[in-house]
């Protein structure tokens, strides 16, 4: 056990525990807040692994934007405050889901742990200069395609919400939530 191993175990435990709470809690809003803790701990994992830029982007985009979007959606869909049985499936279904989730974990562990090997590896830290050079060098076309994808996704999200509103309006439905 090296120092980095201990640091990773600490943040990894936080990530796993808060991830478990995020998928099992009955409070709808608490699930999103536990997701914040989980994603923040994953950012800590990236820091321990030496990828500072990825950790910062994780904090900015995931914790800052994605979780806020999720919270917005929960509020706009009138999420109930307090414990609520309606958010999870029945008991038999949940047991089946837990078995399948454990199966996924077991399968991945069986494949990945032999690949990891018993030896400690040298961490060849990635510098931000190198990452920037590669993004705008080797990966520049995928990067531009991604910016196009983001634009298309934004327009599509706008179009989806507009289309439903237009289809609903002639029918004279009740008050629009937006």
């Amino acid at each position: 056990m090296t120092g980095l191993d201990i640091a990773f175990a600490a943040v990894g435990l936080v990530a796993a525990a808060s991830g478990l709470l995020a998928v099992t809690t009955r409070h709808v809003v608490h699930a999103a807040l536990w997701l914040v803790v989980c994603l923040g701990a994953v950012a800590g994992c990236y820091l321990v692994l030496g990828a500072e830029f990825v950790a910062l982007v994780q904090l900015l985009v995931y914790v800052g934007a994605v979780v806020v979007l999720v919270l917005f959606a929960l509020m706009l869909t009138r999420a109930p405050i307090g414990p609520n049985d309606e958010v999870t499936t029945g008991r038999a279904h949940r047991v089946l889901a837990a078995v399948l989730g454990a199966g996924v974990t077991g399968l991945l562990l069986a494949v990945l742990l032999p690949a990891a090997g018993p030896a400690a590896r040298n961490r060849s830290g990635t510098t931000n200069d190198a990452v920037a050079e590669q993004i705008f060098g080797t990966w520049v076309w995928p990067f531009e395609a991604l910016s196009l994808l983001l634009l298309v996704a934004l327009i599509a999200a706008f179009a989806v919400s507009r289309m439903v509103g237009a289809a609903e309006e002639p029918a004279g439905a009740e008050a629009d939530p937006r």
Binding site: L76, V87, D176
Partner: protein, 121 residues
């Protein structure tokens, strides 16, 4: 010096938790939280592999950034769809039969949910 077993184990655990979240949740937004956990498991694997090997193209970091971007786009579209479904149906319960879309609030998921009364987790 770091052992790769830790990151790999965390990725496997997060992927399993995400799969459980996707399968066991009825609220569509909470299903999305499970998807986010699975994506983060993949990201941890990418960063861990990129951190220890000879990564000439920085593929571990760059591909992780790409995955984060795609996840943001995915969440954006998915939440638009969720809001559209909420406006059409009045709820975002994935277990409710789609035939009740015409008259929401009339069939509160009786057939699909025989065991909700139990107070166990």
């Amino acid at each position: 010096m770091i052992h790769l077993a830790g990151p790999y184990a965390l990725a496997a655990i997060l992927a399993g938790l995400g799969a459980y979240g996707v399968l066991a949740r009825r609220n569509a937004v909470l299903v999305l939280i499970g998807v986010e956990l699975i994506l983060n498991a993949a990201n941890i694997l990418l960063v861990a592999v990129g951190a220890v090997g000879a990564d000439t193209w920085q593929a571990g970091s760059v591909l992780t950034l790409f995955v984060i971007t795609i996840a943001a786009a995915e969440v954006c579209v998915a939440l638009a769809v969720v809001l559209a479904v909420f406006r059409l149906r009045g709820d975002i319960d994935l277990s409710r039969a789609s035939t009740s879309a015409a008259q929401p609030e009339t069939a509160p998921s009786g057939a699909a949910q025989p065991e909700t009364a139990e107070p166990v987790r």
